[in-house]
């Protein structure tokens, strides 16, 4: 069973790093993972995308065929990749960074939550916490371990807090969802 995740936004948001953290967590969980990326020439400000495929079995084709989960953290990224989403794709956007959200299933204030924690750069950790809770592809303990390894040592604590924040927000959503019997009934 392969799960395909696509995270998109602009350079500097930690898009690629988020993919790496997710992939490494999957490895820690004993699964297989492939992470690929595409980005523009500039390191900050250009379009960036990270694709992660997670599977319990061998992964042959290493690219995303149709994402199970699409996270868009900027308007241009959302506009660009929404067309690639299909029936089964869960689309999550950042509520503030993607003002026109038509087509998205969930709009979450990742960057606002991060700002409340003190630093906007940890928005991707919030996002990771959220999708970990929502998707259940990897365990949150593996995610925490992977996160601690991949962020600068001085910011581990802050990132873990951001992750936890995102995770409980995600959990709330899932609970609410389950209460309602799933998103689409």
């Amino acid at each position: 069973m392969r799960t395909e995740i696509q995270i998109a936004g602009f350079g500097g948001q930690g898009i690629v790093l988020a993919g790496v953290i997710l992939g490494e967590a999957a490895i820690l969980d004993g699964q297989n993972a492939v992470q690929t990326q595409s980005y523009g020439p500039e390191s900050r400000g250009g379009a960036a995308r990270s694709d992660i495929i997670i599977s319990r079995t061998e992964i042959d084709y290493p690219k995303v065929l149709q994402a199970d989960l699409l996270v868009a953290l900027s308007q241009p990224a959302f506009d660009k990749y929404l067309s690639g989403a299909g029936e089964g794709t869960l689309v999550i956007v950042d509520r503030e960074l993607v003002p026109s959200q038509k087509g998205a299933h969930l709009a979450i204030s990742f960057s606002l939550m991060a700002e409340n924690l003190g630093r906007r750069v940890v928005a991707n950790s919030v996002m990771l916490g959220f999708i970990t809770a929502v998707s259940g592809i990897v365990s949150s303990s593996a995610m925490e371990q992977s996160l601690s390894r991949n962020v600068p040592p001085k910011t581990v604590e802050l990132n873990l807090r951001a992750f936890a924040e995102g995770w409980s927000a995600g959990k709330e959503h899932v609970d609410a969802w389950t209460c309602r019997g799933g998103a689409n009934g």
Partner: protein
């Protein structure tokens, strides 16, 4: 033997633009793809300013560039004939352009890795020939486009992705090297010194012979991430605080100058120019044939 060249009137400049220098740019390509706080845009601005001050029509300019972030300053942003070449070889291409089109200003803007690293040989030879090219070397102390490796100009002791334990190599002083190789005009400024920089650029463009301006420009992303200077302003402050005029620098010893950026005009000569001599030989020999 030369192909006839028909003159076409210059295209109308965009008068309705917000910015007075926009008319020099390929506006459809803006905003630039430079990272936040990158100095390349400032260099482009200073260059457009210099062209503007000189009232130099862009149709009399050929821009030649190599590969790297700084090569993207003219390619595609500056609206003139543009030759975007291979890594390090801009000066070789420019030599061909200048020989065939001596009436045009041939201007090279490229980075330190490009001009002084892989292209170092073409740099010293173009300076030796004293060919009438104007070279603006944007020195950001690293290979920015590939993610921040050390370059030949990276300061000794600096951290980069390929000198993770501090760089053991001494940096190349490009301006001094070019002066030693025989250039007619050499100066160095930083992106903090925008006004004198734009003036030096003007001067370099007007100067006959090989002219070279080294522009220290910030790379807050690829270089800055390793040395923990994350914003363009961090670098501009550094440039302000560590730069020293060459007139003052001459009074100081080598040790005292270690961490200083020497700015100002290093050399000005009036040695004969290469293409002029080439044409001279041609006219002599063509006459000789008759």
């Amino acid at each position: 033997m030369k192909l006839s060249q028909t003159e076409t009137p210059p295209e109308d400049c965009c008068e309705d633009s917000n910015h007075r220098l926009h008319k020099y740019l390929r506006q459809e390509t803006l905003p630039t793809t430079f990272c936040v706080g990158c100095g390349c845009g400032t260099v482009l601005g200073a260059f457009a300013q210099a062209v503007d001050e000189l009232s130099l029509p862009p149709e009399e300019i050929v821009m030649v560039t190599g590969i790297g972030c700084s090569s993207w300053i003219p390619s595609p942003y500056f609206k003139a004939d543009t030759l975007h070449t291979t890594h390090g070889r801009a000066l070789a291409f420019a030599t061909g352009v200048k020989v065939m089109l001596p009436r045009m200003k041939v201007i090279v803007i490229a980075g330190d890795g490009d001009i002084a690293g892989i292209g170092g040989n073409h740099l010293i030879h173009a300076a030796r020939r004293n060919i009438d090219l104007t070279v603006f070397m944007v020195n950001n102390w690293n290979y920015g486009m590939t993610g921040g490796q050390m370059s030949p100009t990276t300061p000794q002791g600096a951290l980069t992705t390929t000198s993770p334990y501090h760089n053991v190599e001494p940096p190349l002083k490009a301006a001094e090297l070019v002066a030693a190789a025989g250039a007619n005009y050499v100066s160095r400024w930083t992106t903090y010194h925008v006004f004198p920089l734009a003036e030096a650029m003007q001067y370099a463009i007007s100067k006959k012979g090989f002219s070279f301006v080294e522009i220290i420009a910030q790379c807050p992303v690829s270089y800055g991430k390793m040395v923990n200077m994350r914003s363009g302003s961090d670098f501009l402050n550094l440039y302000r605080d560590t730069s020293i005029r060459i007139e003052q620098a001459r009074e100081l010893s080598e040790e005292e100058l270690v961490d200083k950026i020497v700015v100002g005009k290093l050399v000005e000569r009036d040695a004969e120019e290469y293409v002029t001599k080439l044409y001279q030989v041609n006219s002599e020999q063509s006459a000789h044939k008759e």
